[in-house]
Symmetry: D2
Subunit: 245 residues, 4 copies
């Protein structure tokens, strides 16, 4: 399975504090951790590469794309956002992390505003498993505790998920649907909330485990079915074909 | 409740046969039938009016928008398509009829390709109620029979619906999920399959009944909640507010 | 609309503390509050009445049944539990409160164990609205705060709900899916978590408002459709009927 | 993976015609076909064995149970029906075939009447794939055609499925939701419609393929989580545990 980890990569060069947590960028950290899993071939791409590093060839060769963006959603071109949307419709998995709830590809795939409430408050978060046999929660006990986290609160404006896996508790008093799966065409999307740039969340083993589980769950072994999005004209009915057979 | 019936209105002026079925256009026929329902205030709008007849003022005053388009999806401007999407997110109901499955507003709200299979074959269709107590099926017996209809077949590439109300049977051998509801933000969308321009389907009483039922079901009496799509910064946590109270 | 409030009514006679909160029983308190709503005709029934006060005549005349039980689930006869299940299948609404998650009718309708985690800890609970335009949340702001509450935690072993309306936050660190709707046959069920017998929760106006909203939402104005649960033999096909017509 | 194929086995001994199609019983035919799949260890059990062949030991060792019953639903003891329900809640997969929609275990797990319409009419059925990347539809093209089949029609009184995979078209004019998945506790259930005893449907390769796919999909590799259905008393809160840590 080929995984592409994409990051806008704007915080890390601009901040010593953030760079000290993620010296190779958030994408570098996630890629490094995922590379240790059997069968995972991991590469990275970032916003400032040509075509944001997401050429058609790259997407065609990607089974699961992981996306992290925050302050530069608007710098992603509409062409690349549409290309990612189309790749998902054709079967590519997409993992949308944390602040990427407001990214162009996610908003295009959801159809909603994807708004939420938030507060930076350096307090802890606890992600509860509400679907204990879901493959994305494999190896996780009743909950994951994140020592320091930005708060995201409801109402999170997304469509009813096909599957709800995690709900977060925040020390400040909020809850949030933190792990959700949607199907779109032949592909699946997993939104996973944790991961503010100022905390070492993507080094936390349970968080890495969930992302790895999601890569496996979203990977669609079946060959990409061509023709999605076309409106095939069926010149003969099954009933007439049957009579002739 | 204010209902706006929108039609691209391109077939009717161009074809005597179609005009003989819908002398005032498909929008005119639907508007006329719906006007007979208590509490329905109905108006129309068409593609070739300025801003397609869908100015911000019109949408702000619309509780439920009914949409019919077929050969001119691409002539709808992106600005108006986005305006309709935003209105739904803010609470407006949207009824998407027949070939409008490929319209810009519907595709933006679904996030999928909205593709399907089709065949013009002048045969009958039977829409089965699979959720008999759903308000949209009120007054409908086990099924609706449409004497002549274009065929639409699966796979219909839309997200899992929040509610599945009708499934169609076609004489040629196909099935189709013909009545589905999705929530998007504060609004609801109802896709309803029947309605090819060459058949008098929108004069059929049961079809009109379903559309009227859907208008009532999608009408959101609650005032539009402002702020949808923003990401409100919660400077104080519920826990700190509680301590201070 | 006729509402029947059912209570096992075992705590109140046995405890001065509980009786001081609910002098007329939990059923009496809920009935008194609901009686103030327009169009609500409210009566009560309790475990120790003949047939637990739930004869076939009572259920036939009930639009929405509200259920509270805790220490005496096992004293409800299987016959009455089945009668309630059948009434829901035929269109009666059922509101299942708090500890009634372990009641016989609810378990029969869910098919799961309906287990959960719990702790009595006298701390506060905050119910967040995660579906802000849902009729059951009408009139409720972003959340409801309950000053003192028993804790219920995930995993709550129930089927995927048709609609998820509330998620609870607990001071001790847990979350819980606190307001959920399921369809079963022609009826709907609403599970609503708040309501431990040692706290005056059913006197809290927002809690009463949610229960009243749920009564309206679960009320099925359509006449009870007979024949649910039978397997009607269709001796003639729609196709043959059509040819003959 | 260990698969147990259960059959009431009443038609085959009583009818030469049926026995000529299924000389070793429906269970024998399904078991023989499934045995050819890698990693499948298949055994059978029937109604007239002691405890219907479904002792606790047998269920404990079963990953996926396949169930076929028709005229003898009532001969299954409540004790065994409850044992099967409990096994599913604890993680066992259950495939419910054709007329088993009215079996005790299925009705207990659904909570609905599981009624439907039906007609024996020797006409063909066409099962359409409406979720083309679902693992249960792997290897199936757009549809499966069954040359002769009993008709089952809507309304099928079951809860909203977690996943809808197949919808059937019948020559007589009906449709039916023919392939559906529900989660119950730690287990999954797949209802699959085809399979009347008077037709060689379980010898049809595509039907066998779907059943084999479903065995893989329902198999829960994770160890059975004990304690499902209990209500664990959490004497310490996560917050207090955290402070002590």
């Amino acid at each position: 399975m080929t995984i592409t980890v994409w990051n806008e990569f704007r915080h890390e060069p601009a901040s010593d504090a953030i760079r000290s947590i993620y010296p190779n960028g958030i994408h570098g950290a996630i890629a490094e951790h995922l590379s240790k899993y059997d069968g995972f071939s991991v590469r990275t791409a970032t916003l400032d590469e040509p075509e944001h590093g997401l050429t058609q060839d790259v997407l065609d060769a990607t089974d699961v794309l992981i996306w992290w963006s925050h302050i530069a959603h608007g710098d992603v071109t509409d062409a690349v956002a549409e290309r990612v949307q189309t790749a998902v419709q054709q079967g590519m998995g997409l993992i949308v992390l944390h602040s990427s709830h407001f990214s162009k590809p996610f908003k295009r795939l959801m159809g909603t505003t994807c708004g939420l409430s938030w507060r930076e408050d350096d307090k802890h978060e606890r992600l509860w498993v509400v679907d204990p046999t879901h493959p994305i929660a494999a190896g996780i006990d009743r909950y994951i505790e994140v020592p320091e986290a930005e708060m995201y609160g409801e109402f999170f404006d997304v469509p009813t998920p096909d599957e709800l896996v995690f709900i977060s508790w925040f020390a400040g008093g909020e809850v949030f649907r933190s792990g959700m799966v949607w199907k779109r065409g032949y592909g699946k999307i997993f939104y996973f909330r944790p991961g503010h740039e100022t905390y070492p969340i993507y080094h936390q083993p349970q968080i890495v485990q969930v992302i790895a589980n999601a890569c496996r769950y979203l990977n669609n072994d079946r060959a990409t079915v061509t023709g999605i999005g076309s409106c095939p004209h069926q010149t003969e009915s099954p009933e007439s074909l049957r009579v002739r057979a």
